[in-house]
């Protein structure tokens, strides 16, 4: 028997009544025209998972090409296209919008609102994202861009990248940028104005804190990249010379503008993941989050510092040494709030009563992986060491530990955690845990050896290499690992698809969780809540359970694991 049979026991709950609006007879039209945050959230999640799969296939093709030296499977041209597609897809079409997807679904539910502040703007966000994805992937029929997701000029200039693929890339940045910007304003307004009564700033869930900061960072960073790609566009087609060194322009200007956006972007991608982990850990530890204020504050501090560290991507560029020193120290500083988070998460587990669900597996796996990514970040922040490591596979390993390990493992933890709320059904826990172990080992096999590859001198973005460089074994291990990782990911995707029809019925609150989204039915009705309870702490559902217990005399255990006991 699974660990989730408690869900079937009758537990007194405050339920909501379904309110359904006027519906069209065509179901697909219902989805196209919807302004319901939950439907938009689902569309976001499905679409971004599709892009995740596409980006994953591109990664597998690159790893296959690199598995043996002097491989001729893929040409240099196609390899550069693949790496540009992979990077751009994962950043702009997967990790950033998947967080918006979770935010869309759960922000109103967690703060006790009935929808986002601007429902139609919300729908616009989604459709702009889809448009960006279509514009970008349509280049597969012509010439995909091949200057990398940084698109450094002059390589991305018209002279060296004459194809329209580069322009499609610019268009993608604009479309997804407007999509995210509109979405960010929506999140900000919603969180600031539409919280349940009594939900003061000290009582909003940590995931909401992270989405709020995500929104603020998007509002700060996106205009900069929008300006930069517009300058690139006018350089390419309208005779300006912003980045053209033959006419007093400077490629270093692009590097600065791009990474002024690019580094906050890193935290845009990871902060909501931090938020999910901060929700998952206390629920499955049966213990309040350790140091709520410290975690919320560290989110804000990380966001602030993240706008001051961009030049650590430019340590090998022509910059004065004093600038390098400054950016080394600022990058060190960002390690402190990140360390605070890791410490608080670990302390949340300590002396808890751990209910080992698939979600918790992914959350703990996340901590281990992100710890490694954070530590290698310190190596890279030391600029003389970065002179050796920059642009090598060490960097590839580092940011996959933070983004693939960090964001994807937290997304997995979040999906297993919230899947019952979104679909009304539980995932298969056993398959989830198996998927975790396969993903975890595949991930480490793929990326841990990449540190060694970088240290032994393999630069990034080369499409082939010679035998006898000492890279062949590491590359083969890494490529095999990538297939294991893909298999593990597919197990979870299969689990999500299968559980949609065949999963156990979850009930409103299968995990005995802490936050308001569990106060309504699963999946929630259009109006989310009949009544919105007054919030008295950061764990309103615990308070409600306690209250029900007081009134009915039926035990609603929250401090122990009784309700998870195996039968």
């Amino acid at each position: 028997m699974g660990t989730t049979d408690y869900a079937l026991r009758p537990v007194p709950q405050i339920l909501v009544h379904e309110v359904r609006g006027q519906r069209t007879t065509k179901k697909w039209l219902d989805w196209v025209l919807t302004t319901d945050h939950k439907k938009i959230g689902i569309m976001y999640l499905v679409l971004t998972f599709v892009f995740f799969m596409l980006g994953g296939v591109e990664a597998l093709m690159m790893r296959t090409q690199l598995s043996v030296p002097n491989n001729t499977l893929i040409t240099g041209e196609h390899y550069n296209e693949l790496l540009t597609l992979h990077g751009t897809t994962m950043v702009f079409l997967f990790v950033v919008p998947v967080m918006a997807g979770f935010g869309n679904y759960f922000v109103p539910l967690m703060i006790g609102a009935r929808d986002m502040a601007f429902p139609r703007l919300n729908a616009l966000s989604f459709w702009l994202l889809l448009a960006g994805g279509i514009v970008f992937y349509a280049t597969l029929l012509w010439h995909p861009p091949e200057a990398g997701w940084w698109s450094y000029p002059p390589l991305s200039s018209r002279q060296y990248s004459p194809s329209g693929g580069q322009d499609a890339w610019i268009f993608l940045i604009h479309l997804t940028g407007i999509s995210s910007l509109v979405g960010a304003i929506n999140f900000y307004v919603t969180i600031v104005n539409m919280r349940a009564p009594g939900m003061t700033w000290g009582r909003i869930p940590l995931f909401i804190w992270s989405i709020l900061i995500y929104a603020v960072l998007l509002i700060i960073a996106l205009p900069v990249v929008a300006a930069a790609v517009t300058m690139l566009l006018t350089d390419r087609h309208f005779g300006t010379h912003w980045f053209d060194p033959t006419d007093h322009g400077s490629p270093v200007l692009w590097e600065n503008l791009f990474w002024f956006f690019g580094h906050p972007e890193v935290y845009i991608m990871i902060l909501p993941g931090f938020g999910m982990i901060s929700e998952v850990l206390p629920v499955f530890s049966r213990k309040p989050i350790f140091g709520y204020k410290a975690i919320a504050a560290s989110t804000i501090v990380i966001a602030f510092l993240s706008t001051l560290v961009w030049a650590h991507h430019l340590f090998t560029a022509p910059l004065p040494i004093v600038v390098l020193g400054f950016f080394m120290l600022s990058s060190f500083l960002i390690g402190i709030p990140t360390g605070v988070k890791i410490f608080n998460w670990t302390a949340t587990l300590w002396r808890g009563s751990l209910v080992m669900t698939a979600s918790l597996y992914f959350a703990i796996g996340f901590i281990v992986i992100f710890l490694i990514g954070g530590i290698t970040g310190i190596f890279l922040a030391v600029f003389p060491v970065d002179w050796q490591l920059n642009d090598t596979y060490f960097v590839v390993a580092h940011f996959h530990y933070t983004l693939m390990g960090g964001a994807v493992f937290s997304i997995m933890a979040g999906t297993y955690y919230w899947y019952p709320k979104m679909t009304g059904r539980l995932c298969n826990e056993r398959l989830g845990k198996l998927s975790f172990w396969v993903m975890f080992s595949g991930f480490n096999m793929t990326f841990f050896v990449q540190h060694a590859l970088g240290l032994s001198g393999m630069p990034r973005r080369i499409y082939t290499y010679q035998p006898g460089m000492g890279w062949s074994t590491y590359n083969l291990i890494s490529s095999i690992g990538s297939y294991i990782l893909a298999a593990g990911t597919l197990m979870s995707v299969f689990n999500f698809l299968r559980s949609y029809k065949h999963g156990q019925i979850a009930g409103p609150d299968p995990w005995k969780a802490n936050t308001l989204e569990w106060f309504t039915s699963s999946p929630p009705p259009d109006n989310n809540f009949d009544t919105i309870p007054r919030v008295r702490s950061v764990e309103p559902m615990r308070d409600i359970r306690r209250e029900v217990e007081r009134q009915t005399g039926v035990l609603q255990k929250t401090g122990g694991s009784e309700q998870f006991a195996r039968t």
Binding site: P245, P318, L333, G335, G339, L354, G457, P459
Partner: protein, 309 residues
Amino acid sequence: MRLLRPLASTVKQSRLLAVLALAIGGPLALPACALAGFITPESGGSPNANAIDSLYKIILYVAAVVFFAVVGVLVTAVYRFRAKKHPVALQIHGHTRLEMGLTLGAAGILVILAIVTFVKLPSILDAPNSRAGADQVLSASLTAPIPPSGDRLTICVTGRQFIWQYTYDLGPSRSADCNKSAYFSRLPYSYQEMYVPAGVTVDLLIQSRDVIHAWWVPALGGKVDAVPGYTTYTWFRADKVGAVYRGQCAQLCGRQHAFMTALVKVLTPGRWAQWIHSQQALIAAQNGQVAQLRQLLIRDGSLTSSGNF
């Protein structure tokens, strides 16, 4: 300290963990040569590469301690506090002193690493023999490190899709355009393979003629971007005669980026002087042949006198 109480009973386990950490961390203490390229960067070709390597190792030791400490606590927590073994969770919301202490601890580690970096920096930035302090050197990459003894060789490294060109011994005109001085002063040059005299400090002027490249020979020090419109600098001093060091462009520069490689061959100063003379003679001979051919083609009518087809 209710939170910390279980620690006392985990002392035995932590001892076990310490042994484990030592077993895994032990190899870190092995000589660099055995592990270069696995857990430490390549080094051994030039003093700056060695200095970077030793700085890296200091960080590695600190990192290993932090990693094993956190993972140790995490693994212990998962092992000891599963619901089956530990049915009632401790209902606490935090511990201010502990949190402050650990935050300060993390900050302290980073302060130490910053100090170590700045102490090590001159040995990475300054060419040997240099009397200039770190503060007089404005930049690692914007100002050339010049050893005052004058005993140096300046080589201009020019990146282009997809090959490195080296122009040797620019002499007093070192700041001028490398291509121009190579042409007008008839300086010797070579492609892809760089020849250097052993024991001589080599200043590199790094430029690009098209897109951004990055000069990198791991055993001879860190990489430096070759950005069109800028000149960047680095140096190395290779002491081992007969050594050959490999490197390759580290910045995506186009479709054949993977084949933009570099070889640095170290000769004795005497052999190097010979090589330079023969290279110069070879270039002069080739130029002569090209000029002859050009005259022939002009007379023939297939080239105009200005050299166009």
